[in-house]
C-alpha cells in the first residue's frame, strides 16, 4: 500500500548513503536495508521583537520531532509530495495543536537566548505542515565481526549508529 506525504527534498540516495558509511567504516560492507520516513511538524514563524531602536522581525523555521517532541530551528528546505510504501512511514505521536504550542515555546526560548534579551517575541505562523525526513538504514557486515546498523540522514548525510532496542522508560522529552 502506498502513502502520500510531504518529504523534505534531499540529495542523499541509497548509493551515496552506502558510500558515506564505507568511507568511515573501512573493512566493512555497507548495504542499505530500508528507508524510513520520520515525521516532524514544521512551522514557519514571523518573529517580531521590540528593541531599544524599534521592532525587529525575521522569519524562523522550526521543526518539532513528532515522535519525541524535541524542537529545533531549521535551515530553509524544499518539500516534494511523493508516494511511499506505507510500511516505511513512521506515524506522528502528537497532534498539530500540541506541536504548535511546543514550537512557539521553543522559538521564544531560542530568540531570548540568542538575542540576549528577556522579551516575549510576537509569533505569527506563516506556513505549517507535517513533513517527513528520509533516513536510510544501512547494515554493515564484516566476515570476522558481528554486524551493526547505522542510520543515514537522507538530507544531510549525517549518520548515527543504531543499537539493538533498549528497554527505554519515559523521559521528559518535551520542551
Amino acid at each position: 500500500m502506498t502513502r502520500s506525504l510531504a518529504r523534505i527534498r534531499g540529495s542523499i540516495g541509497r548509493e551515496r548513503a552506502e558510500m558515506l558509511i564505507a568511507s568511515v567504516a573501512g573493512g566493512w560492507t555497507p548495504r542499505t536495508e530500508a528507508c524510513l520516513f520520520y515525521p516532524y511538524f514544521w512551522f514557519l514563524f514571523r518573529c517580531s521583537t521590540r528593541t531599544l531602536f524599534g521592532e525587529t522581525g525575521l522569519k524562523v523555521s522550526c521543526l518539532i520531532d513528532a515522535q519525541t517532541k524535541v524542537g529545533a530551528t531549521a535551515d530553509a528546505f524544499e518539500l516534494e509530495h511523493v508516494g511511499v510504501p506505507a510500511g516505511d512511514v513512521i506515524e506522528p505521536r502528537l497532534d498539530e495543536a500540541e506541536a504548535n504550542r511546543l514550537a512557539e515555546r521553543y522559538v521564544a526560548y531560542v530568540v531570548r537566548n540568542r538575542r540576549k534579551a528577556l522579551v516575549v517575541p510576537k509569533l505569527e505562523v506563516l506556513e505549517h505542515a507535517l513533513v517527513f525526513k528520509p533516513f536510510w538504514i544501512v547494515n554493515c557486515t564484516n566476515d570476522s565481526k558481528p554486524d551493526f546498523r547505522v542510520m543515514v540522514d537522507g538530507i544531510t548525510g549525517g549518520f548515527h549508529a543504531l543499537a539493538p532496542p533498549a528497554p527505554l522508560g519515559s523521559f521528559n522529552l518535551s520542551f
Binding site: 534531499g10 568511515v24 567504516a25 573501512g26 524510513l36 520520520y38 514571523r46 521583537t49 528593541t51 531599544l52 531602536f53 525587529t56 522581525g57 525575521l58 522569519k59 524562523v60 523555521s61 521543526l63 515522535q67 519525541t68 524535541v70 529545533a72 530551528t73 531549521a74 535551515d75 528546505f77 513512521i90 515555546r105 531560542v110 531570548r112 540568542r114 538575542r115 540576549k116 534579551a117 528577556l118 522579551v119 533516513f135 538504514i137 558481528p146 554486524d147 551493526f148 542510520m151 544531510t156 549525517g158 549518520f159 548515527h160 549508529a161 543504531l162 543499537a163 539493538p164 532496542p165 533498549a166 528497554p167 527505554l168 522508560g169 519515559s170 523521559f171 521528559n172 522529552l173 520542551f175
Partner: protein, 524 residues
C-alpha cells in the same frame, strides 16, 4: 578624562548602533541574523571570534591583570587552568554529555542533571545554587563595568556604576542588540586586536620580555617565581592545585544552554570553529596576565591593581585607539553581564518558578519573573558594589570554586559511572557547595594551605562515591538511564572513526528508530 578618548568612545558606540540599525532595516530576509537565531555557524572564523568575546569577561580585564600585578608569575597557575580547562572539559565529559543530554532531551544543564538523577530535589538544589552563584558572578561584571566607566569618563565611581548597571539592565529587558551576529563579530575583532595592541605596546615599552623580567627582579625578585610575592605560597600545593583546578574543573560546573538546529546541508563548520576557538584561547588567555606582569614596571605605584590593564592601555596607546579599545572592552563586560543575567533569570523562571510554583505559567509570566529577578539582582548588586565592593578576582574565584565543587563530580559521574545515583548526586552537590562556601567565608585557606576548591572537590567526589554505593539497594539507578548510559558508551563492533564522526544531533531520532525497528522485528 581625555577628550579624544571620549570622542572615539562615542564614535565607537555610534558605529555599533549604526551597524545594528542598518541590519534591522534590512529586515526579515536578513540571512545572517537568521543564521544566528538558528544557532547556525556563520563560518569558522566568525564563530570562533564570537565565542571568544563571550569568554572575555570583567575577570579577564580586571581580575587577571590585578592578580598578575600583585603576585607576578604566580598568576599563570590560573592561566594554565584556564587554557587546559576547555580541553579537559571536552575530553572528560564533552562528547558523552552532549550525546546523553540530546538523548534525554535536556536543553539546560539543570534539566540534564534532573533527567540523569531523577528527583525534584536535584533541580531545586542545582537551580538555587546556580541562581545564587551566577548572581555573584554578575556582581563582578557590575563592578568591572563601573570601574571601567569611571576611568573612561572621569565620573565618580557611584555615578559610573549606576550608568553601567542601568545600561546592562535596559539591554537585558529590551534587547539592545539589534544585530548580534554583526555587533559581536565587530566587537570581538576590535577587542582581540586591542588587547594584542596593549600587550605589544607594553612589551615594546619595557624593551621585551627578558628586559622586563630583569626590571621586575630589581623591584622584587620573588614576583618572578611561581610561588607568588615574597614566596607567599611556597610549597603550598593545596593552594596551587586549587589555582589550576578553579578554572579547569570550574568550567564543568557552569550551567549551559543548548539550542538545537537542524541543518539541511552536511555541517562542517562546527569542528573547525572549535579548533579555531581553542587556538584563540591558547594565544589569548595568557595575554591579560602578561600585561598585568608588565604593568609592575610600567605603573609601579598603581593605586587600584584592578585597573592595571585599563591604565596600561590609557598610558601607552594613542588616545583614539584607547577610546575604541576601551569601548570594546566595556561592551564585552556588558555583554557578559547581560548573558549571565539572562541565564540567571531563565533558571529562576523555568527551573524554579514554573517547575515548583506555577507549572502552568505562560511565557509572558515567566519573562516577568525573570525580569523581576534581574531587577532585584541589579539593585542588590548596586548596593553591594557601592557600599563594600569586593575585588573582581575574589568574587569570580568565590563563585567558580563553589560551582565546580558542587557540580563537577555530579557531571563527571553522570556519564562515566553507572552507579552514580540520585542520593549520591544530591549529597555531593550539597557537601561540595557548603564545604567550599565555609572554606571561602571562614578564610580557612591560609590556615590549612588548602584552597576552597581543592577541599570542596575532594569532599563532593568522596561523598558521591560513598553515598551512591551505600544507597544502591534502596535507590538504584533507573533501568532506562542505565540503558541510555550503555548506549552512550556504546562501542561494540562499531569502528571508532564512524562513532567519532557521528552526528549526535540525530540521537533522539536514532533512539526512536532503534525502538521501532526492534518492535517490527518482534512482530515478525
Amino acid at each position: 578624562m581625555n577628550t579624544t578618548v571620549i570622542l572615539f568612545l562615542v564614535l565607537y558606540y555610534m558605529v555599533m548602533v549604526g551597524v545594528g540599525v542598518w541590519a534591522m532595516r534590512r529586515g526579515a530576509s536578513d540571512d545572517l541574523e537568521g543564521y544566528l537565531l538558528g544557532g547556525r555557524n556563520v563560518g569558522p572564523m566568525v564563530t570562533a571570534l564570537t565565542l571568544q568575546s563571550t569568554s572575555m569577561s570583567g575577570y579577564m580585564f580586571l581580575g587577571a591583570g590585578s592578580l598578575a600585578y600583585t603576585q607576578g608569575y604566580w598568576a599563570f597557575w590560573y592561566a594554565a587552568g584556564d587554557i587546559g580547562g576547555g580541553v579537559l572539559n571536552l575530553s572528560v565529559i564533552g562528547r558523552r554529555m552532549r550525546k546523553l543530554s540530546r538523548m534525554m532531551g535536556s536543553l539546560t544543564a539543570i534539566e540534564y542533571l534532573e533527567n540523569r538523577y531523577p528527583s525534584p530535589a536535584t533541580r531545586l538544589i542545582a537551580a538555587s545554587l546556580s541562581v545564587f552563584l551566577l548572581s555573584a558572578y554578575v556582581l563582578a561584571q557590575f563592578i568591572a563595568g563601573g570601574k571601567g566607566m569611571a576611568l573612561i569618563t572621569g565620573l565618580p565611581y557611584s555615578v559610573a556604576l549606576l550608568i553601567a548597571l542601568a545600561v546592562i539592565i535596559v539591554y537585558t529587558f529590551l534587547g539592545g542588540y539589534l544585530a548580534v551576529a554583526y555587533t559581536d563579530f565587530f566587537q570581538s575583532l576590535i577587542m582581540i586586536v586591542g588587547v594584542a595592541w596593549v600587550l605589544g605596546a607594553a612589551l615594546i615599552h619595557v624593551g621585551g620580555l627578558s628586559a622586563a623580567n630583569a626590571a621586575i627582579a630589581e623591584i622584587d625578585p620573588t614576583l618572578l617565581s611561581v610561588w607568588g610575592k615574597d614566596l607567599g605560597y611556597h610549597g603550598q600545593w593545596g593552594i596551587v592545585v586549587g589555582a589550576v583546578l578553579v578554572f579547569s574543573i570550574g568550567l564543568m560546573g557552569w550551567p549551559h544552554v543548548v539550542t538545537r538546529h537542524m541543518a539541511m546541508k552536511q555541517p562542517t563548520t562546527a569542528r573547525r570553529a572549535g579548533a579555531y576557538a581553542t587556538a584563540w584561547n591558547l594565544l589569548f588567555v595568557s595575554s591579560p596576565y602578561l600585561v598585568g606582569v608588565l604593568a609592575i614596571i610600567i605603573l609601579p605605584n598603581l593605586e587600584d591593581p584592578e585597573m592595571a590593564i585599563f591604565q596600561v592601555a590609557y598610558t601607552l596607546l594613542p588616545a583614539a585607539v584607547t577610546g575604541i579599545v576601551m569601548a570594546a572592552i566595556m561592551a564585552a563586560i556588558m555583554s557578559t553581564a547581560d548573558s549571565l543575567l539572562l541565564q540567571t533569570g531563565s533558571i529562576a523562571s523555568r527551573d524554579l518558578y514554573e517547575r515548583f510554583i506555577n507549572p502552568k505559567a505562560s511565557d509572558r509570566e515567566m519573562v516577568m519573573v525573570s525580569r523581576g529577578l534581574v531587577f532585584a539582582i541589579g539593585v542588590a548588586g548596586y548596593v553591594i558594589a557601592l557600599v563594600q565592593p569586593p575585588a573582581v578576582f575574589d568574587v569570580v574565584i568565590f563563585a567558580t570554586s563553589i560551582l565546580s565543587s558542587a557540580f563537577a563530580p555530579a557531571f563527571v559521574c553522570a556519564v562515566w559511572w553507572k552507579k552514580a545515583n540520585t542520593p549520591g548526586a544530591i549529597a555531593s552537590m550539597v557537601t561540595g557547595a557548603s564545604t567550599s562556601f565555609v572554606w571561602e567565608v571562614g578564610n580557612l585557606a591560609d590556615a590549612t594551605t588548602l584552597a576552597p576548591v581543592t577541599v570542596g572537590l575532594l569532599a563532593s567526589t568522596l561523598i558521591i562515591i560513598v553515598v551512591s554505593l551505600a544507597t544502591q539497594s534502596i535507590s538504584p539507578v533507573p533501568g532506562h538511564i542505565v540503558a541510555v548510559l550503555e548506549e552512550t558508551a556504546k562501542v561494540g563492533p562499531i569502528p571508532k572513526h564512524l562513532l567519532s564522526a557521528s552526528d549526535f544531533a540525530l540521537s533522539p531520532e536514532a533512539e526512536q528508530i532503534e525502538s521501532i525497528l526492534g518492535q517490527r522485528r518482534e512482530e515478525r
